[in-house]
């Protein structure tokens, strides 16, 4: 699948250009002629959906930046009054951006769970997976800073809580916190630097997405049966038109969902406390991050010790990068791993449970459940994956992709 492109442009101008900058050949070999396994299901369309959402967030973000004022005195009004009420279609662009962020994370979670289920992180795709974890972390940083920008009550509270995590670090913690804030608390300097970084990070994400696709195109896609491509003619189809049109179709369904959010329930995922301007002297009664950060918030709160809670929070993200070395089962796809499949679904329930607990007031009762679920979260990675790697009784895997999905057996070997 790697190697120089065989594309020859039809026009003379095309050949002149191609001889100097082989852009068309790269597009052709990466997205047109590029072979993809013929057994991919719709779980494989989320890469394209994510690429679209990244572009959508950047476009709507750049447009919002034409009207937003990153000053502590004016930020809230520039959003709530100017953008939402004065700017032509400002309300639409703002809702696209906030709901787009939520759907960006919704798509990335499906994309990641696909990876867990089908073993897409296994050799030779370990680096592809790690780049994905980096992109995920950058997304969380970007979303966190973006949430601060409207300078609502929850924006301020969230900024305070997350930046205060650094104060847990022994000796240098407070200095780091002051350095992040540019002062003794979240304030105007914090807002302007978060604005600058919020504008910057998506382009860093885009660069890592480029590396992500490049790392993917070396071995090619994994597939639902977890069996690598053996014969390009029998096992694969060309990306265009098959994967292209499938991605476009899946994207259009996704966009219907996106439009439903934007036009009918645009504030459903937004915290009502953020419709009030930030007040440094008063914290909202009920501080919660956006839904996509809730599981990590629950893990943070589950540990009673401040520093250990912060370590657990970051460990919960770092452990994702270690998965290629924690799960060593030679069978990739959970389709043929019944025990792993059971624990995978338990893990999904654990994550949803953690997310729910993150949204609730912490009480004695919920604290116990949160600790159990946190143990479940880390247990899936640190206990279940290594244990099952070599002890699990797996089902026999198909000889090839073609064997798995084509009705007629491929030509038998000559007698």
């Amino acid at each position: 699948m790697s190697g120089p492109s065989t594309y020859v442009p039809k026009s003379a101008i095309g050949r002149w250009f191609e001889a100097r900058l082989p852009l068309m050949g790269m597009v052709h070999s990466s997205f047109i002629a590029y072979p993809v396994p013929r057994n991919l299901n719709y779980m494989w369309t989320f890469g394209a959906i994510l690429s679209f959402m990244l572009v959508a967030q950047i476009v709507t973000g750049v447009v919002l930046a034409m009207h937003y004022i990153p000053s502590a005195n004016e930020a809230f009004d520039s959003v709530t009054n100017d953008i939402m009420r004065n700017v032509n279609y400002g309300w639409l662009v703002r809702y696209m951006h906030t709901n787009g962020a939520s759907l960006f994370f919704f798509a990335v979670y499906i994309h990641m769970f696909r990876g867990f289920y089908y073993g897409s992180f296994k050799p030779p795709r370990e680096l592809l997976w790690i780049i994905g974890v980096i992109i995920y972390f950058l997304m969380m940083a970007t979303a966190f800073m973006g949430y601060v920008l409207p300078w609502g009550s929850m924006s301020y509270a969230g900024a305070t809580v997350i930046t205060n995590l650094t104060s847990a670090i022994p000796f240098v913690g407070n200095s780091i916190a002051h350095w992040l804030w540019g002062g003794y608390a979240v304030g105007a300097p914090t807002l302007t630097r978060f604005y600058s970084l919020h504008y910057l990070l998506p382009f860093i994400i885009a660069a890592f997405v480029g590396l992500h696709v490049w790392a993917l195109h070396v071995p090619g896609q994994n597939n639902p049966d977890g069996v690598e491509v053996q014969n390009v003619d029998r096992d694969t189809v060309a990306f265009t038109p098959y994967a292209t049109i499938k991605d476009v179709f899946a994207l259009s369904i996704f966009l219907i969902f996106y439009a439903w959010l934007i036009f009918y329930i645009p504030n459903y995922l937004l915290d009502p406390d953020n419709s009030k301007v930030a007040n440094p002297l008063m914290t909202p009664a009920h501080v919660v991050p956006e839904w996509y950060l809730l599981p990590f918030y629950a893990i943070l709160r589950a540990i009673p010790n401040k520093l250990m809670g912060v370590i657990a929070l970051f460990a919960a993200i770092v452990v994702l990068a270690l998965v290629p070395w924690l799960d060593r089962s030679p069978v990739k796809s959970a389709k043929y791993r019944p025990t792993y499949r059971f624990f995978f679904w338990v893990f999904v329930v654990v994550c949803i449970g953690l997310g729910y607990l993150g949204s609730q007031e912490p009480t004695e009762g919920t604290a116990l459940i949160a600790r159990i679920l946190t143990a479940g979260y880390f247990g899936f990675f640190l206990v279940v994956m290594p244990l099952l790697s070599f002890t699990e009784k797996t089902k026999p895997i198909p000889a090839s992709i073609a064997d798995a999905v084509l009705p007629n057996k491929p030509a038998q070997a000559q007698a």
Partner: protein
Amino acid sequence: MHDGRHAARSEPSLGGWMANATTIEKPNRRDFLYLATGSVGAAGVAAIAWPLIDQMNPDASTLAMSSIEVDLGAIPEGQIVTVKWRGGPVFIRHRTEKEIEEAQNVNIGELRDPQSDAQRVKKPEWLIVVGVCTHLGCVPLGHEGKYEGWFCPCHGSMYDTSGRIRQGPAPLNLAVPEYTFLSDARVKIG
């Protein structure tokens, strides 16, 4: 024969001088689907592109500032008042008899931008012009210059008491904005 895939329709062979012509197939289901999908897609792209472009147009608060009302009662004869309209200066000049006469007794043919004074005012004693030099945009100084209208210090353009360009590099007379007299002492500009 047909094996389930899209097979090219066999066309009857053409005879005579058309023997080597290529025939065009009738549009089939696939063509229709491509066209329909493409059209809906194009409509979708247009629907999303328009708000992203229109948001750069002046917003509601700017449009609300696009008209102003000025009280003329406070302006004595001979004085020029500068007001801010749409982000820039507008000169309101309460002209004296002498200034009105000078403005009206000019040979139109000699003007770089021929306009009679009557074409530029509604009431002769009130001259309302945009205070931006038509050369490169500086704000000219009132009661200055040989023609006692305005003088632009940037490159030496001189305007008369009707705001018309008389000397210097400016190509056009000072612009006359849209305005209406709400009463004898109140004007709405824009």
